[in-house]
């Protein structure tokens, strides 16, 4: 459709690599505590090339329950990818019907997924520090981003990571990623007593920093208000999705653009957006 922001060109060019695979094999599906889980899926070897196109911020549309073919697939960010093993990981939270079904799936089961979809985060110019700010399960794409930053020769980024309580932080799992974790909990059970935005304000964010965020809308809203205008914020957004491929126009978000440009599709034009161009609704 009409001109996409330059940042999203990568996703457009790579769209030829999108596949609908009915035989993703569950190899791991285990609890990390606090209703959070880790799912590892193995891609059939003949389709392993799709993993080359997995980037932080992109996502997979998974059918969580093969017995219910007319439920929407559910979108999940890639938390990590292992090209050699031909696998990728989803870090997910049980919140409703389909994630409950997903939690019950035994290793060895086949799931159907469409991947990889959407645009990824941009890697900042060399010498530009990056700060990752994650709320709860929203940390998932930031973990892959940290991995990519370090692979690109950047220093381990700071991750300001907030949850309601310490079990939301799954610190053991997160410690497996190249991040310098600065935890925050609403109840003060671990790290800073308060939310991540308050923590970011306390630590201070320099003007030349790239901020990458993912989390609940109230968190993103207060982040935009708190950070100085000059700081660029890329965030991965969430909307209810039916297709994930730009076919249904269901996943729209309002932007500060005009006319038809005032709506963007999270699955096709995002899910990563320049947060300052988005009008967040709760």
């Amino acid at each position: 459709m009409s001109s996409l922001p330059v940042r999203n060109q990568r996703a457009v060019i790579e769209s030829a690599a999108v596949k609908a695979l009915s035989e993703l094999t569950v190899t791991v599906n285990r609890s990390l505590g606090g209703g959070l889980r880790l799912l590892t899926l193995k891609v059939p070897s003949e389709d392993a090339s799709v993993l080359e196109h997995v980037h932080a911020g992109r996502f997979v549309m998974l059918r969580c329950d093969e017995a219910e073919p007319f439920k929407f697939r559910r979108p999940f960010s890639f938390a990590s990818v292992n090209a050699q093993a031909g696998t990728f990981d989803i870090y997910y939270k049980v919140v409703g019907d389909q994630t409950r079904k997903l939690a019950d799936i035994a290793p060895g089961t086949h799931l159907s997924g469409v991947l990889p979809l959407g645009s990824g985060f941009t890697i900042p110019p060399p010498d530009t520090p990056a700060i990752l700010i994650g709320g709860g399960v929203g940390v998932a794409p930031l973990l892959l981003l940290a991995t990519e930053l370090v692979a690109a020769g950047r220093p381990r980024p700071r991750l300001l990571f907030g949850g309601r309580t310490s079990t939301d932080l799954t610190l053991e799992y997160v410690s497996g990623f190249p991040v310098e974790v600065h935890p925050a909990t609403d109840d003060g059970s671990h790290g800073f007593h308060g939310n991540v935005v308050e923590l970011a304000a306390l630590e201070g964010v320099a003007k030349d920093v790239y901020v990458y965020a993912c989390g609940p809308v109230p968190m993103l809203k207060s982040l935009v208000e708190m950070l100085p205008q000059a700081v660029s914020i890329e965030a991965s957004l969430e909307e209810v999705m039916a297709c994930g491929i730009g076919a249904c126009y269901g996943c729209a978000v309002r932007t500060d653009g005009l006319g038809a440009e005032s709506m963007r599709l999270v699955c096709r034009d995002g899910p990563v957006f320049d947060l300052r161009q988005i009008r967040l609704e709760e």
Partner: protein, 306 residues
């Protein structure tokens, strides 16, 4: 694709498709979401997202929600407008050789006529589906639910273009056969039966609609028996008028059911969201099912009910 292309070819009146499987309006954008999954030239036709005179941003989120066996949508008429369609999107489809049917929407007779005038001489367009029944915009129902307005817009459209004209009937009109008769009388090339059904979904705790608007349109397998009934009714009343069935088609056997009830071809909508490979799978499965029905072509099965 079918080994024997003739087996899948369907034709009636002025309409002809190399496959009975069409992509429904608003469920395939302008084809680009499916380029990774199948060749757009394999399907009978791509029916575009609704095109309006001016660009439209569509409704506020939340625009979709899941319901048993289907979904509700209140997308509105989110589209880039006729000018950008003609200059940016259509050329790509034309070059790729896709059979394009443009779905046209508007608020006034003039809106429809202006879009048809702008597009009638553009190469690459086979015809127009007149979306007279979009339930998700204010006042969007009037053409589809008022026989006089319906007849008039069909006649005016006919005066503008020789290309296929296919009004899309709305379940909101009740019995659809009278509208099909009017369409036939106005020289329409066929009718689409039908569109999403006006419907609601509430959050029981808050009492709020699960969409940003109070109601939306129901689609998906849940509506299939309703569509089948309407197709059969229309086919009984106006046997000569080609019918494109839309509402709940998901499987290859559904295609045969709709054709037996009287449809010429079938549109895939909601199922495309669940399975982007479905058109290809239906193409693979259909030939054997046609043979199982004792027919050598799908066209032979049209109207054949027990």
């Amino acid at each position: 694709m079918a080994e024997d292309a003739g087996q899948m070819r369907v034709a009636a009146g002025r309409l002809e498709f190399k496959s009975p499987v069409l992509l429904a309006s608003g469920c395939a954008s302008f084809g680009e979401p499916f380029e990774d999954f199948f060749k757009l030239t394999e399907v009978g036709a791509l029916i575009t997202k609704a095109i309006t005179r001016e660009p439209r941003a569509g409704n506020e989120p939340v625009r979709i929600c899941e319901t048993p066996g289907g979904m509700l949508n209140a997308i509105g008429l989110h589209n880039p407008g006729v000018e950008e369609f003609a200059t940016e999107l259509l050329p790509k489809l034309r070059e790729a050789g896709v059979t394009v049917i443009v779905n046209v929407a508007g608020h006034s007779e003039d809106d429809y006529i202006q879009v048809l005038r702008r597009l009638r001489d553009e190469p690459g367009i086979y015809g127009f589906e007149l979306n007279l029944s979009c339930p998700n915009v204010d006042g969007g129902m009037m053409f589809a639910t008022d026989p006089v307005l319906f007849g008039r817009i069909c006649e005016k459209a006919r005066a503008v273009t020789e290309l296929w004209l296919i009004p899309k009937l709305s379940p909101a009109a009740g019995e659809l056969a009278p509208y099909a008769q009017i369409a036939d009388g106005a020289g329409m090339d066929g009718v689409t039966v039908s569109n999403t059904h006006p419907a609601m979904a509430l959050d029981w705790r808050t009492g709020r609609s699960r969409l940003s608007r109070p109601s939306g349109g129901l689609s998906g397998p849940a509506v299939k028996p309703l569509t089948l009934y309407n197709v059969w009714q229309v086919a009984q009343t106006v046997p000569e008028l080609p019918i494109l069935a839309s509402g709940g088609c998901s499987e290859a056997c559904d295609v045969i059911e709709f054709v037996r009830a009287g449809a010429l071809a079938v549109q895939l909508g909601t199922i495309l969201f669940h399975d982007p490979l479905r058109p290809r799978r239906i193409h693979e499965e259909l030939p054997a099912l046609i043979a199982e029905c004792g027919a050598s072509t799908l066209n032979e099965l049209r109207g054949r009910i027990g």
